[in-house]
Symmetry: C2
């Protein structure tokens, strides 16, 4: 072994000891409240990645989409491969500027939240994804305190993922894991359109 190789090995042995000690300190297992927020891409997409991982573990997964309506998306085609391992509900009516009808948006949000509560109560489900719930909370279509209280009262082994920009501080406070997706560079700025297979 050369001197350089020996130095590398020694440095990495020390680093491994630190890493191992850090891992050993973490012993708690619990259902996580996970929030994907921020202006960048990847909030819903990372939720679908978590869904795929959970499906691979044989879990049942519940999904409620609060804003997106009856759009044709790649993910909705893909999940057919998993049959009744997924309980998927697209209950949005589109963005506020699409519906142009506040009463209808409000009713859709309340209906979607009722479905979310049903999924969270279903003990066969280990992961519930509430896509764009943050948008419904931002427009005050739902009572923030009631939503956060329901999350805090979740079963110990239930994981919940909430997506959408502008997550409310009370939700962040209640969450275990919060990731902010920041936009460093976006192809829309270069005139590139939203493309099938990538954006939807």
């Amino acid at each position: 072994m050369s001197d350089d190789e020996a130095r590398h090995r020694e440095k990495m042995e020390k680093r491994k000891a630190v890493q191992d000690a850090e891992v050993a300190e973490k012993t708690i297992e619990k259902g996580l409240l996970i929030v994907h927020t921020g202006p960048g891409k990847g909030k819903s997409t990372a939720a679908w990645g978590l869904m795929l991982r959970a499906l691979g573990r044989g879990w049942r997964v519940g999904v409620v989409q609060f804003i997106k309506g009856a759009w044709d998306t790649g993910e909705k085609h893909a999940i057919k491969a998993f049959g009744d391992q997924i309980d998927w509900h697209t209950l949005g009516e589109g963005f506020t500027w699409e519906t142009q009808d506040k009463a209808r948006d409000l009713a859709a949000a309340k209906h979607a939240w009722a479905e979310a509560e049903r999924l969270m109560a279903d003990t066969s489900i280990r992961l519930v994804i509430l896509d764009e719930l943050n948008i419904a909370l931002r427009y005050d279509y739902l009572d923030l305190d009631a939503v956060v209280a329901a999350f805090r009262a979740r079963r110990p082994d239930l994981h919940i993922v909430v997506t959408g920009r502008n997550a409310k501080p009370a939700l962040i406070e209640a969450a275990d894991l919060v990731t902010e997706m920041g936009s460093v560079k976006h192809h829309f700025a270069a005139g590139v359109k939203a493309q099938e297979g990538i954006e939807f």
Copy 2:
């Protein structure tokens, strides 16, 4: 219709006009070079979400994992549902502090990059995911200029996703879409361990 409803509708009609004009401006279709970087969670997970979307569109997807080794992950179980729509190669040997062997890490990175080049040249594949490639670039296991040149020379309809912390500036410069995952709150800090079905 009440005054409040009428005001809402008028405001949303204006907003829709702005949105529609913005969408209409974007006409280019192209294979995107997408980078998921930053210290937060969701870099690889969002790549799996993109993979799921692409699979739902009937695309073939190629995956090379540059760092992760022969770990048991939920995503690897899940993809069995898609048969040969996925060409998946886990070619890492683990983190540098696991292998403790620089020569072995370097050889693994070169082997993984050769596989990546093969997948990018396969015209049946529309999306190639190079998981943790940024780590291999950061340690100079691969020649950055050669990697970026290969990306710039990609087929017009090939989408590439690169994940990992500390994306190199030259890669960001060449990319169409760069998202920085920021860590707002992490459950490890509260002593919660990495859990099956969520983290792997």
